[in-house]
Point group: C2
C-alpha cells in the first residue's frame, strides 16, 4: 500500500483533479452542458463535493457557470486561441528571462533532468497523459525560478487553456518532431544563460505549437 491514509484529499479535491484532467483530455464536447447527475454517477460521489469541484473549475476558467442553469464546457474559438497564444508568449517570455537571470545551480540540474526525461519519452514514443505530464513538467521547470508566484500561476492557467486546443487537434508529425527538438535546444540556451536566444526560441516554440493547436478550430495552419 502506498499510504495508510489519504492525507489531505477530500472528495471535492479528488473530483476537481479528475474533472480537470478529463476536460484537458477533451472527454467532454466543447459547448456541452455538464449533466450533473450523470457526473455524480460516473465519479461516484455526492452532489455537494461535486458542485464544489465544479465551482472551483469555473473560477479557474475550465468551465463556464451560468446562474440557475448549471455548468458548461467553454466553446473553442480561433479568437480565444490567438489570445491564449499571445499571452503565453508575453508571460512565458517574461518568466523565462527572469528565470535565466535568477536560476541557480539546482535549477540547472532540475532542468537538465526534466529535459532528459522528456527526450527519453519522445524517443520511446510515449503518448497520452504520461507524456503530457513530462511535457508540462519541463515547461514549468524552465520558468520556475522567475521569482513571481502570480506569474507562474497565470502561466499554468494559460497552459491548461492552451492544452484544451492542442490535445484536441490532429497530430502533425513533422511539427511534433521539430517541437521535440526545440525542447532540448531551449534547455541548452537556458543553461548557457542566453536570454535573447532563449526568448526567441520560446516564441517560435509557442508559435509552432499554436499551428498545431489551430487544427482544433477547423482552420488551416498559417
Amino acid at each position: 500500500m502506498a499510504e495508510s491514509r489519504n492525507v489531505g484529499v477530500t472528495g471535492a479535491s479528488r473530483i476537481f483533479d479528475m474533472l480537470r484532467q478529463d476536460l484537458l483530455d477533451g472527454r467532454f464536447a466543447a459547448g456541452d452542458k455538464l449533466a450533473i447527475s450523470a457526473l455524480r454517477d460516473h465519479y461516484d460521489v455526492s452532489l455537494s463535493p461535486l458542485r464544489e469541484a465544479l465551482n472551483r473549475l469555473a473560477a479557474y476558467g475550465l468551465l463556464e457557470q451560468e446562474n440557475q442553469r448549471g455548468f458548461r464546457v467553454p466553446r473553442l474559438s480561433r479568437e480565444e486561441l490567438d489570445d491564449i497564444m499571445t499571452m503565453r508568449k508575453a508571460l512565458e517570455g517574461m518568466a523565462l528571462e527572469r528565470a535565466i537571470l535568477q536560476g541557480d545551480a539546482e535549477w540547472e540540474s532540475h532542468l537538465l533532468a526534466a529535459a532528459h526525461r522528456l527526450k527519453r519519452a519522445d524517443e520511446a514514443g510515449l503518448t497520452g497523459n504520461e507524456w503530457e505530464a513530462l511535457h508540462a513538467e519541463f515547461h514549468h521547470t524552465l520558468v520556475r525560478p522567475c521569482g513571481s508566484v502570480w506569474l507562474l500561476r497565470f502561466i499554468a492557467q494559460l497552459h491548461d487553456q492552451f492544452d484544451r486546443y492542442r490535445r484536441l487537434a490532429p497530430a502533425i508529425p513533422e511539427i511534433r518532431c521539430e517541437l521535440d527538438r526545440q525542447h532540448g535546444e531551449l534547455m541548452t540556451l537556458a543553461l548557457e544563460r542566453s536570454v535573447e536566444g532563449a526568448r526567441e526560441l520560446l516564441d517560435d516554440h509557442i508559435q509552432l505549437s499554436y499551428r498545431v493547436a489551430l487544427g482544433s478550430c477547423g482552420e488551416q495552419t498559417t
Copy 2:
C-alpha cells in the same frame, strides 16, 4: 422597485460577491481561519451555497483552502506585494499600450466619462466603496480595449489582490492627492495616443500606489 425578479442570482453568487467585498474591505484579519458556521449565521444562508462561494474565492485567490481544515484569509507579505506590484506594471502596461493602439471613439468617451466621475468623487471627498467602485471602473476602462480577455482577467485579479493591501494601509494625503492628479493625466495621455508617455505614467502611478500599500505590511515607504 429595481427589478421584479432576481434574475440570475443564486445564493452562492450573492455570497461570493459579498464575501469578495468584505475581503477587499479587510473585514477579516489576514491569516485568520474563516468560521464557516459564523458566516452561515452572518449571511443567513445554508452551508451548500456558502461553501460553493468559498470554493470559488479560493480558486480565484482571495482565500486559501487546505483540505480537511477549511478556509483562511491569506497572509499579507511584503514579498507578495512586491510581486503583485511588479506584475501589475507589466500586465497593465502591456494592456494600456494595446488599448491606446486599438481603442476607438467610443472608448474615448467612456474614458472621459469615467475620469470625470472619478474626479468629481475626489473633489467631493467621497470615500469607501463608492469611491472604490469609480476608481476600479476608471482603471478598467483605461485598458478595456486591449483586445485580450485573458489579460483583462489577470489584471482584474491582480487589482483585487493589490486592493487587499492598499485599503488596509493608512492614508497618505499628499500621495493620495498626487494619485488623483495622475488619473486625469493618464486619461489625457491615453486620449492623445501617447503610448510611451502613458506607460511611464502608469508605472509611476502603480509605484506610488505601492508606496501607500506598503503601509499595510508595517514597512516604511521607499
